[in-house]
């Protein structure tokens, strides 16, 4: 622009003076309307335009030639043509870089857990719980608003990896050959036609437990169409015994709901109610609250008291104030004796009681048993906390016999717990049945040649059915076998048609929570493969292959909701909230009337168990991480160390230390178990606190067609299982083989050796001296003197910190998997784990205290401590790990050269090193899995917990955008790390230590707060709250 000078201004004034009327001008130049301005308008880029002003044809050709040559050079790169297509219309609500959350639900054992799934540009990456769903407790860190994601468990967290699993079945196959859905329909139609005339006499439908309303309605329609067809349900982990017990005690099937928020004394009989089973997330939360002395009234610290009798160590047992390892049979004896003490009318069961009492006289008269019976019976009846008198509760797990379940119903009734700590509803399942019996009937029908068409929807019965049923052999008798499944597994291999199932994150479906509340399952992504949902298959079986799963689910609910006018609004709200309102089952009143008649009709009941003392029981349990085998191909769960044994990638025969000593067994020794001509070869793993007369084996391993991850790992416990007694067998012979097997455990030493690592103490001491309980002082080391001021850096903004309340922590591992999912942590495989190279950023350390036969177990989650005086920062030669101005100890991956000195110098050993190329850079579907906000680390780089720095940044940006006129600040609770968000008992608290009102500050100031290895002067940001026990003084010197 030509510069103005005085003469121009003069000119301007004169022009203005000469103008008439109203004129608008854009700039002084225009106003002046000088020649220069006209010229300027004609040449927008006046300076450069000069260059072109006088270009001749020759010059033009020269320049063009040169630019073509340059363009040609770029062609040397050889970049393939890639079409990118912009959004023509911006999708509603998608802001690049901002994830969206969608509510959906995951079904296990028939029951749905509400989830919120994080989606980045249409790509689901992370799963959280849906706090609006009744299965997920409404935790309080977000205030009353509850917009933040809720808690979840390991299976929910790991479901994302299964969704992206490249080993999932991708196409319809017919006897192993690739086929199409159309070809399947063509093959199916004539066979169904044929059955129609026979009323469907030859049709059998085998599903897992079904509570999905749409699917249940479709199955009902199908059974209406083919009245003679039979529907069977089977899952290896079922509630047969509970249902049978209900029949025995109440005369009908019910669903039982526990309310631990009001329970002061809890007796658990082989029940891992904090970790698995219906509503376990809510249980963990309510239990932790009732145990948290910070929540008790000012007058006195209060805690509930938990008694656990169990035949295999569980995490619930580890939280117990009194735990007693017993054989399954002994637990039954104890229950009968306790019922008698509590005054339950057992006259109807006189025969059973008499036999049991004869067998158990020795056990019942022992000092331990008497003391326990006295203590437990008294406590159940009378122990109440001062302020908020709750009630007692007896809980029984799925493995205890129907008789014990019946007694538990009766005892809870007798104790007046019904309506307070326990409520009943109609069963939430669409068709509750004794599944083992159902499967047995199916096998009998198949063997008899009565079955012509078999539809197996989900499950994996060829693998999961007990050995004595010989399911696979019976299947041979069926003419036409159809399978719908996520994987082409053991069962699919024996079926004529295999239909790939859509993962729940790709499906429209619905489900019901334990309390009955219905949820719509909505897909987060279009099916990666050609998966079909069970609804679609059923629709095709009903002769209507047309409608999509969405149509089917929507149609069903349109019928159910009876509000056609508002349906769209209702539907949208239900999708958004993740719940359909008013679908909860009403409480049901029941009357206890023990009926011995029902007992004889219970084939699943192991009445004739051999009880000789020198024989070994084998206890069957679902695996803590791969469950019944359905997660066998999930690397996150395979690499997750199992509670107590800390094993990964394998199952083992768990034994107690006494038994191991008696048989001179070491970890990894292979033994052979024999019972009724069935043998099982398994490596031994010694677990302190395991019942001395039993061996625990876990399901879920020994898969032959699981996929690249799961195939070949461990041994198959189903091959040793009997349908007559699916949870334990007695009279097993154990032989050593002399062979050994290498197992990959992540922790080998469980004794603290006098080191001050986990502080725990009795409630009494907190009551005696709430400000400084004695056990907190016992190990107190003053910080060593330092030349430097501890507050050298002022931290004027945020000052992040974390507390982990060991009194709330159950050791459930949800934090570990959540962290793995959030932070793109690779899976390294069994060999690398056995070398000590697992990559998880937060681990659960377990320590034992006391007698190996029945020790106290404490769990301690250990993430990076983000030390104020971080030993790692000092020794890094390249400054790849540095302190941020908000107190975070940060890793700069790009700068790291991999000296590993930081790891050596870290006293907490929380740093993880990429010894090899661990992250998968090849598999396309796994690339989609990665969190886009977290760097994928390559070989040779150190990594560790970042306090989820990406979440902090997101929260900071959010706060800045929404700050308005005020100074931006992240409110307490507006931010949660992945581990904190997932933690079912909310043991982990994260926040700003500069905010005196934040929960983390309050917990840091708590008298129970301590720093791990504080004497090293590392001044960790992550601190712990001591674990408390509330022992019964009467049982102090017992068992």
């Amino acid at each position: 622009m030509p510069r103005k000078d005085a003469s121009k201004l003069q000119e301007l004034r004169s022009r203005l003076a000469s103008q008439t009327g109203r004129g608008y001008w854009r700039s002084l130049e225009e106003l002046a309307d000088s020649e220069e301005f006209q010229q300027y308008l004609s040449q927008e880029f006046s300076d450069t335009a000069e260059l072109w002003g006088g270009a001749s044809r020759r010059q033009f050709l020269t320049l063009m030639g040169a630019s073509f040559a340059l363009a040609g050079l770029s062609g040397c790169w050889g970049q393939p043509p890639e079409l990118i297509v912009p959004y023509v219309k911006q999708p509603e609500e998608i802001i690049p870089g901002q994830p969206l959350y969608f509510a959906t639900a995951m079904t296990m054992g028939g029951l749905a857990t509400g989830l919120l799934v994080e989606s980045h540009m249409g790509r689901p990456t992370k799963i959280e719980g849906n706090p609006k769903h009744p299965s997920v407790p409404a935790t309080f860190w977000q205030g009353a608003e509850q917009t933040a994601p809720g808690v979840s468990d390991i299976f929910a967290q790991a479901a994302m990896l299964t969704m992206y699993d490249p080993d999932r079945s991708g196409t319809v196959t017919s006897r192993g050959e690739i086929s199409t859905w159309g070809a399947f329909l063509t093959a199916l139609r004539p066979r169904l036609e044929l059955q129609k005339s026979a009323q469907g006499r030859g049709i059998r439908l085998l599903t897992e437990t079904v509570a999905s309303p749409t699917l249940a309605a479709q199955i009902a329609d199908f059974l209406k169409l083919y009245p003679e067809a039979q529907w069977h349900q089977f899952e290896p982990v079922n509630r047969d015994n509970e249902l049978a017990g209900a029949k025995l005690a109440l005369g009908e099937f019910v669903s039982t709901h526990y309310h631990l928020d009001r329970a002061d004394v809890i007796l658990a009989l082989d029940a891992d109610f904090l970790i698995s089973g219906p509503d376990h997330l809510r249980h963990a939360w309510e239990f932790a609250n009732r145990r948290d002395v910070k929540l008790s009234p000012k007058s006195q610290a209060e805690m509930n008291r938990l008694y656990v009798l169990e035949s295999t160590p569980t995490l619930t047992g580890a939280k117990a104030d009194h735990r007693w390892p017993l054989r399954a049979q002994q637990i039954e004896w104890f229950a009968i004796a306790l019922a008698q003490r509590l005054g339950v009318d057992l006259s109807a069961l006189a025969d059973v009681v008499k036999t049991a009492n004869e067998q158990s006289s020795e056990f019942l008269t022992s000092a331990d048993t008497t003391a326990w019976l006295d203590a437990v019976a008294t406590d159940l009846q009378s122990y109440r906390r001062a302020d908020d008198p709750g009630s007692s509760l007896i809980v029984a797990g799925p493995s205890v016999s129907p008789l014990v379940h019946a007694l538990v119903y009766a005892m809870n009734d007798r104790l007046g717990n019904v309506g307070k700590t326990v409520t009943y509803t109609e069963p939430v399942e669409a068709e509750p049945m004794l599944q083992m019996d159902s499967l047995r009937t199916l096998v009998a029908d198949m063997q008899a040649g009565k079955v012509e068409l078999l539809f197996i929807l989900g499950g994996n019965p060829v693998y999961t059915s007990p050995a004595d049923l010989q399911f696979a052999a019976a299947m041979d008798q069926v003419l036409f076998r159809v399978r719908l499944s996520l994987y082409e597994d053991e069962t699919s291999a024996l079926c004529h048609w295999h239909i790939p199932e859509a993962h729940f994150l790709e499906s429209w479906s619905d489900g019901r929570a334990a309390g009955g509340t219905a949820t719509i399952v909505q897909p987060l992504i279009a099916a990666l493969y050609q998966g079909k949902t069970a609804n679609e298959l059923l629709s095709a079986m009903l002769g209507n292959p047309g409608p999509s799963a969405l149509d089917l689910v929507k149609e069903h609910w349109q019928k159910q909701l009876h509000d056609a006018a508002n349906f769209d609004t209702l539907w949208q709200t239900a999708l958004h909230e993740g719940v359909i309102p008013n679908t909860e089952l009403p409480a049901k009143s029941v009357t206890v009337k023990l009926d011995a008649g029902a007992l004889t009709n219970l084939p699943s009941n192991d009445r004739a168990a051999d009880t000789a003392e020198d024989q070994i029981d084998v206890v069957f349990r679902p695996d803590p991480t791969v469950w019944d085998g359905r997660f066998a191909n999930n690397g996150w769960l395979q690499e997750l160390s199992k509670p107590f044994s800390k094993l990964t990638w394998d199952n083992a025969a768990l034994v107690g230390p006494e038994l191991a000593k008696r048989l001179q067994l070491k970890n990894g020794d292979v033994v052979e178990l024999e019972h009724e001509q069935r043998t099982l070869t398994a490596p031994i793993w010694i677990v302190p606190g395991h019942c001395e007369q039993s061996v625990t084996v876990h399901f879920g391993y020994g898969r032959t067609r699981a996929g690249r991850v799961g195939t070949g790992a461990g041994f198959n416990a189903y091959e040793f299982q009997s349908s007559m007694s699916p949870w334990h067998v007695s009279g097993v012979t154990l032989r050593t083989t002399g062979r050994r097997m290498s197992l990959a455990a992540t922790q080998h030493h469980h004794l603290m050796d006098g080191r001050d690592l986990v502080r725990s103490g009795p409630l009494e001491q907190v009551r005696d001296n709430p400000r400084a309980p004695q056990f907190m002082q016992a190990h107190e080391h003053g910080e060593a003197t330092s030349l430097f001021s501890p507050n050298e850096f002022p931290y004027e903004g945020y000052k992040w910190g974390m507390t982990i309340d060991l009194n709330r922590c159950t050791g459930c591992n949800a934090c570990t998997v959540a962290c793995q999912a959030e932070n793109n942590i690779p899976v390294v495989g069994k060999e690398q784990v056995s070398l000590g190279r697992e990559m998880q950023w937060i681990r659960i350390d377990s320590y034992y205290e006391g007698e190996p036969a029945n020790p106290q177990v404490v769990h301690q989650p250990v993430p990076c401590m983000h030390c104020e005086n971080a030993p790692c920062e000092l020794v890094c030669p390249v400054g790849a790990t540095v302190h941020s101005d908000e107190g975070l100890n940060q890793m700069v991956y790009n700068r790291c050269v991999g000296t590993r000195y930081c790891s050596n110098n870290c006293p907490y050993k929380v740093r993880r090193f990429n010894f090899l190329q661990y992250s998968d850079r090849e598999t396309p579907s796994l690339k989609l899995l990665n969190n886009p906000n977290v760097t994928v680390r390559n070989r040779g780089v150190m990594e560790k917990c970042t306090y989820c720095v990406q979440r902090i940044s997101a929260a900071r940006i959010h706060a800045e955008i929404h700050a308005g006129d005020q100074a931006p600040s992240i409110a307490d609770g507006a931010l949660a790390t992945a581990c904190q968000a997932a933690c079912p008992s909310q043991a982990i608290v994260f926040g700003d230590l500069n905010d005196p009102t934040s929960r983390v500050t309050q917990q840091t100031d708590d008298p129970l707060n301590y720093a791990l290895l504080g004497h090293l002067n590392t001044r960790p940001r992550t601190t712990y709250l001591a674990s408390l026990r509330n022992p019964n003084p009467k049982l102090e010197h017992v068992g």
Partner: protein, 455 residues
């Protein structure tokens, strides 16, 4: 004190009847005569094969990453660091002999200083290799150098690894200079005596125009003394800094103030053991018994004994302080060293470094060539074990029992260690073949001195 009894005369250090000419003949013939003994070929072949093994191991390392070794969490440092410290320690004897003994006018150093310096150089070369190989991302090793990066990021000067980088590179530079300057007059001798044109030109270039004028000698002596002065602090500083790699940390077993002197003594100990390991076969094969005499061996044995006792003191103090501190972590560390899964390493190291070398108190032992050779090998092994115990055994069980682990070296760990031994040997063989392994001009001075002292 019977001073004259102990005084080393030139006659003790040079047997036989040598003149300027014969002593020059004797040493230069090894290089120039062209008749290479069969044992040289055999030895070089073995060493070369081991170098190939090293090459293979290193190539595979670069392809797969450091995960091919046995390192893990908690033992993130393994053989690579053990070897590094061991090799660096070995280098120290050369510098000590050439610099400190020169300044102390210990004339017995003259016949051993040249190959001791060469040994230093090759040991430093072997040592220098390991910190690079052990990096997770060796391609970015230059991040340790304070170069003017456009990122504006500097190395972290508080880290002992940073100091280490400077210490070792300074040490390597000064050692090369010192060695080369010492070689110049002998290069000229070889140039003058060489018959082949190629050898004349090569040695001619390397001798940098040395004519032996008085002015040359004057400048030479000054330069050599200055370099000796520069090298002297390095004897102490390098291994002190290497020891700080450990002492600065808070790992029980590393966090100890005794480390610098203890490491330096250990370095001299192992260095002299290595000089003996090399000198004894050399004097045998090349019939140099007149030049490298029993007196030399005896003196070196005495230095070993003295430094060995300092090392023993270090072990005792470590144990004492672990008990005296009352710190359960330190106490457990010591207990674990002695009776933990690697306890045998500790007891073997005590045997190799303390118990067996007590034989050196006996004059007969110091003067028995085979016994001395075996002792030197034992000490070499012992000092390697000492580093293994410090690095691996301290790391494998530190503060949190939950994170305790084990370290099992893999075939690649062993291949790299053996390969580095091969590299060291191969370089020595090449050196013996191409350069005078004993300083010719200093031996001529000794001849002169002997003649003066002769009655």
């Amino acid at each position: 004190m019977a001073e004259h009894d102990n005084k080393t005369t030139a006659a003790d250090l040079l047997h036989g009847d040598y003149t300027y000419g014969t002593v020059t003949d004797k040493i230069s013939a090894v290089v120039l005569s062209g008749r290479t003994p069969r044992s040289w070929y055999v030895g070089f072949a073995i060493a070369f094969a081991l170098v190939m093994l090293l090459l293979w191991a290193v190539t595979y390392l670069f392809v797969r990453g450091v995960g091919i070794w046995g390192i893990d969490i908690p033992v993130a440092w393994g053989f690579a660091i053990v070897n590094f410290v061991w090799w660096i320690g070995i280098g120290h004897a050369g510098t000590l002999i050439s610099a400190i003994l020169l300044l102390l006018r210990q004339e017995w150093r003259t016949s051993i200083n040249r190959f001791a310096e060469a040994m230093t150089l090759f040991a430093v070369a072997c040592a220098g290799m390991f910190p690079l190989l052990h990096l997770g991302r060796p391609e970015y090793f230059y991040y340790l150098i304070p170069y003017p990066a456009t990122t504006g990021v500097w190395p972290q000067f508080r880290s002992p690894l940073m100091w280490d980088f400077f210490a070792v590179s300074t040490y390597a530079t000064v050692s090369v200079l010192f060695w080369y300057v010492g070689l110049i007059p002998d290069m000229a001798t070889l140039r003058d005596r060489a018959t082949g044109r190629f050898a004349q030109i090569t040695y001619g270039i390397l001798s940098m125009g040395w004519r032996g004028s008085a002015r040359h000698w004057l400048r030479y002596q000054r330069a050599y003394l200055i370099l000796a002065g520069l090298a002297t602090p390095l004897v102490v500083s390098v291994h002190s800094i290497v020891s700080l790699d450990f002492a600065v940390s808070i790992v029980p077993g590393w966090h100890s103030t005794i480390f610098p002197p203890y490491f330096v003594a250990g370095a001299i100990y192992s260095g002299f053991a290595m000089v003996l390991t090399i000198a004894i076969p050399l004097r045998k094969v090349y019939s140099l018994q007149d030049l490298v005499t029993i007196r030399h061996l005896d003196n070196m044995a005495k230095v070993m004994l003295a430094s060995g006792m300092v090392v023993a003191y270090g072990y005792i103090m470590e144990t004492f302080i672990a008990w005296y501190s009352g710190n359960i972590f330190e106490q457990y560390m010591m207990y674990n060293r002695m009776f933990g899964p690697y306890g045998w390493c500790y007891w073997l190291l005590i045997a190799c470094n303390i118990a067996i070398p007590q034989l050196l108190w006996f004059r007969a032992m110091r003067r028995s060539v085979p016994a001395l050779f075996i002792l030197a090998l034992v000490i070499n092994v012992g000092m390697w074990l000492e580093r293994f115990v410090i690095v691996v055994v301290s790391l494998h069980r530190d503060h949190l029992p939950s994170s305790w682990g084990m370290y099992y070296p893999t075939v690649w760990d062993w291949a790299t260690l053996l390969g580095s031994l091969g590299l060291f040997a191969a370089l020595l063989f090449v050196f013996i073949r191409l350069l005078p392994m004993i300083s010719i001009f200093e031996m001529r001075e000794l001849v002169e001195e002997k003649q003066e002292q002769a009655p």
